[in-house]
Amino acid sequence: MTLDEILASLFPDGCKVENDNGILTGYGSLQAGGQGMVIGVSDRTALGVDEAIRLSSFVLGALKTGSGPILVIVDSDSQRMSKRDELLGLNEFLAHLAKCLTYADMHGRPTIGILYGHSAAGAFLATALATRVLVGLPGASPAVMDLPSMSKVTKLSVEVLEEKAKSTPVFAPGLENLAQTGAVHRIWSATSSLAAQLDALLADLPDTRDIRDSLGKERKGRIKAAEIAERVHALALAP
């Protein structure tokens, strides 16, 4: 789906979302009433220091005055890989954006990520994965790293990696594999109203506790994470 189609289907009663060189900010009227705040990255834009600081500014500004959920709509590249961004402390800018989104979510502004295109690495962590609930639209293509780059780092051929990808969801890119690990809460349908699917999600939203590891266990994509975290938690709190 294109961004315009997504916004039209999410907000049939209208929205005002600006797209400034791939950085989305705005509001839309929710079908269930009230307003949803929108931020996001479109057109496979790389997330660098300049982009991240505008998104966090918008989130913080809205925290002081508004109410309602925050939708994080994403089709991004990875973080911008450049000398300038690293020189200026890109890790802090991305962490700051993630902190703002998490803080908002914990303080009455539920955050919902909507992944409709690509996203990877640090950009994925600071946007879509910094939300309480992430939904994927058909055609979304999240990746930690593309297979050719992985081949370079792991010293395994692309052919071998493609073969491994078939049997190892925890390693291979793609929406279904991410859903299996628990990162993607639901995959929405592109053929029915996104507004109705958003309403259904808002009516049945998990609380702010992070349930992605237990989802990953249920879906058999991450068999150990939830259990390990629970055991450590119990050991650490034992008298």
Partner: protein, 312 residues
Amino acid sequence: MSSAEKARPAKPHEMSSSWYEASARQRVDFVLDAGSFQEFLGPEMREVSPHLRVFDLPEQFDDGIIIGRGLLAGSPVFIAAQEGRFMGGAFGEVHGAKLTGLLRAARDAKSIPLLILFDTGGVRLQEANAGELAIAEIMRAVVEARTAGVKIIGLIGGRAGCYGGGGLTAGCCSALVVSEQGRIAVSGPEVIETNRGIEEFDSRDRALVWRTMGGKHRHLIGAADVFVDDTAKAFRDAALALVQTVAALTLETLLNEQVRLEKRLQSFGASGDALDIWKAIGVPEAASVPGMPTEKFVSLADKLRSTHHDAR
């Protein structure tokens, strides 16, 4: 034990040992009071990664991270230490879940600080989705713990540096200690060079790497709170000082951080190199910074930088 004895570090004769050269287990001993460490899910539990065997890679019984609790100068702390010599300290499913569980416990205990001894290249690519998601869970758990009042201090000075999702996690901590050898970034030098070419970043130019991502630069721009020598004692003393001073995460903290980062972009956004930034900050002889001994550098930095603990 008298309080003076309790305040003594693990093994006094080791306190001049190099942090950079040490293993994760040695660093835990460096930081904590002698004999006070209690490990959770230690190597005897053999909780290894279930994914490495798919790639015929060796496993490690602690999956490259040591977690537990101990005493720092007589007071309880939680501690996590990454082993940079195992798979570059990278985050996989088990490695990440151990830290997530510890952070969630710190959040619920509310009053016990947590030290993270970073030494990581980022996500472990062989279990990429699980590693990426583990970092997302860790970042969320850091924010939850800090919001509950927990102080989370990052210590960075290992061989692998603190890259990728490790860099983002460090950016979520209450405060960071860094040595000259400590590097903090998202994309590593080789990754930038591979993606953007050698004109953008020459990863073999070590001086360039160090002044762009290294401890001195990070300290001067306010990204790391304390700059220390590469010794066990220096890291321990800095951690001890920070657990007593840093503040909780509130909306005001985030608003202050927004201003802090915006100012950095306004002041230095057009700079092409760390040397330009150091000149703009007011360092008299910017080119002399990399060779400057710690004491001189710290006293210079104290005069020039303006970072507050309530802005991160």
